[in-house]
Amino acid sequence: MQQGPGGSETEVTWEDQQNINKFGRLNNRFHELEDEIKTAKETNDNLEDASNELILTDEEVVRFQIGEVFAHVPKEEVETRIEEMKEVTSKNLEKLEEEKESVLAQMTELKTILYGKFKDSINLEED
């Protein structure tokens, strides 16, 4: 345990504070993204199941949920709609995964900078 002037008193500059703030913000965004990705994956799975069910059914008219009601829609139209929805969801999922990668990369970079300056005085791991 050092008792010299540089002991437990590392100076925190405004730039350090901004880095810490940015890390906090990125961490929050990372958790939000994880939740959003989970929801998007579930929606994707549901749509997959739905289109599989469609192939198996022999009814001509399917009750398709629009808003709060189930409208009677011919099978082909439902297939088209589900395909469109699947496209939208997978594009969204891709975008979310990309953002997650970028957030992780930025966080790793900030970790290097902050650990470099503060070593043991700072903890940036998940609790």
Binding site: S8, E9, N21, R25, I66, G67, E68, V69, F70, A71
Partner: protein, 192 residues
């Protein structure tokens, strides 16, 4: 006199944002304590109280964010329905739909061609609109909701930054105090 609330002279202090006071960044703990004229314990108490206030505001904003995030898909669903009705208008055939009468009980409705829809505006008020008017009203509501959400998210980010700054300041004041005590103790017992 450069007070803590002047954001033009010191770029390190953001005054406030929509009623949320900004946290003052502390360059040097000793100067900060002499400037505010507080002793360590009062300073820590003040900072802790600030932290609690921030937490309260954060709860409020998070609740507002949840509400907005629920409202947006609702509006999108309504837009979907109006669009479907409009699409059916040209064909001349009626739209048959099953809707919920009560929990677990559904009934069938036959929706003929219609030029108008009724929109629920809240407060037990429902107005009839033409399809185009309804679409534009719903679109406007959707945009407003999305814009409010963005502002809210920015507010939350600002708030979280202030919380982080305050937490770091608390840690530094505490460490400085521990450091001071150690120095005093070392000075009080000069024999090594």
């Amino acid at each position: 006199m450069a007070a803590a609330s002047s954001s033009s002279t010191s770029p390190k202090t953001t005054t406030e944002r929509r009623g949320i006071p900004g946290a003052q960044f502390v360059e040097d703990v000793e100067t900060y304590l002499s400037q505010t004229g507080l002793d360590v314990n009062s300073a820590l108490a003040f900072l802790q109280e600030r932290l609690q206030q921030y937490k309260l505001v954060e709860m409020k904003l998070l609740a507002q964010q949840r509400d907005l995030q629920a409202k947006i898909p609702d509006i999108e669903k309504c837009l979907d329905v109006v669009a479907t009705l409009q699409a059916k208008k040209g064909t001349g055939e009626a739209l048959i739909a099953d809707f919920e009468v009560s929990e677990g009980i559904y009934s069938r409705a036959r929706i003929e061609d219609s030029d108008s829809v009724c929109l629920w505006l809240g407060a037990n008020v429902m107005l009839e609109y033409s399809c185009e008017e309804a679409t534009s009203l719903l679109k406007k509501n959707l945009e407003n909701a999305k814009a409010s959400l963005e502002v809210l998210i920015a507010d939350l980010q600002f708030l979280r930054d202030q919380v982080t700054i305050t937490q770091v300041t608390i840690a530094r004041v505490y460490n400085w105090d521990v450091h001071q005590r150690r120095i005093r103790q070392a000075a009080a017992t000069p024999t090594a």
